[in-house]
Symmetry: C2
Subunit: 192 residues, 2 copies
């Protein structure tokens, strides 16, 4: 998606260690107009797919998922990253490794909100190693729901997550795929 | 706000210990149409206030804040609950006590995204003891920003947060104020 790639080139900051900081518009400060354009794009890509629910994970996925949900006219469910006393009863749960935060955490969704009859679009801000995404896929599959596909804002194409998940037969639509980043020049190279 | 009160009466579940579960539409599964009506209501309440930024806190505030932001045409900044390696450099930080999770955590916002010239609307899903909200207010005040007011979906009027913050001279617009809940009958009583 040209608009997102241009924005990454303009405002993204490349750091050592394959870090791409986009916190001025994507995952700390959030540009809602941009999110609406992203939502429109996914709606075009997944037109006619009968999506009835969007699944995401706290925290940075939530804003993108909610704005996108308006284009599909569906509710959003966000997976929680640790047990809350206000979620009780039956939950789907899976363990996820975070490279960013260097820890393992539980991901939880109440069984009430993902059902076998659901046609799910999974939305998240980043796809790198794919651990969080695999957790969401596990949860949806455990619920017996139908995963229509995955919408990612920025995929780090040089990390293995995207390939692993596509090889599982799951459709992944990343709006920008970064193939290379150079922390010395700050340049970002996108997949054609 | 009648629509939100009706929804709480229909789908909210009252539990022992002053717990009001609204996770079917507000803070786990999210009803985006309802959020849009809430956003419209705050836009009416804060009309002409020149708000240029919405501040919220992860995770449950984000969806409501993003949908509301569309009605104001402004970006959203969400405060993060612990240090992330992807936020670096200068941050505003404050400590917040969570009664729900029975712990103390750091709340962080990058100094780049709250500026002295900002006119801020703070949005959150719940106001009970007011700890998270006081944290956001501290951060905005430390930044020298102007706090126009606070928009809360559900205020627990029998807990002290709302009164404490209004006494500080800050305008708080809660769309539903619960004065009493009865876990045996499941009834919720709203402030007139």
């Amino acid at each position: 998606m040209k608009l997102l790639e241009e924005r990454i080139m303009k405002d993204g900051i490349v750091k050592e260690g394959n870090v791409l900081k986009v916190d001025s518009f994507l995952n700390h400060q959030m540009d809602i107009d941009l999110f609406n354009e992203m939502g429109k794009e996914w709606k075009k890509l997944f037109a006619g797919c009968n999506i009835n629910k969007i699944l995401t994970i706290e925290a940075s996925g939530i804003g993108i998922a909610c704005i996108t949900a308006q284009h599909f006219g569906v509710p959003v469910v966000f997976a929680k990253k640790s047990q809350s006393i206000n979620i009780e009863g039956d939950v789907y749960t899976t363990r996820v490794q975070s490279f960013t935060h260097k820890k393992v955490y539980d991901v939880i969704v109440s069984k009430k909100y993902i059902r076998p009859e659901d046609n799910i679009l999974i939305i998240d801000d980043f796809l790198a190693n794919g651990c969080a995404l695999e957790g969401l896929i596990d949860i949806a599959k455990n619920a017996g729901a139908n995963i229509i596909g995955v919408g990612i804002a920025i995929e780090k194409g040089f990390q293995p997550g995207g390939e692993i998940i596509r090889k599982r037969g799951i459709r992944v639509e990343s709006l920008a795929i970064v193939d290379k980043m150079d922390p010395t020049t700050g340049k970002v190279f996108f997949r054609k």
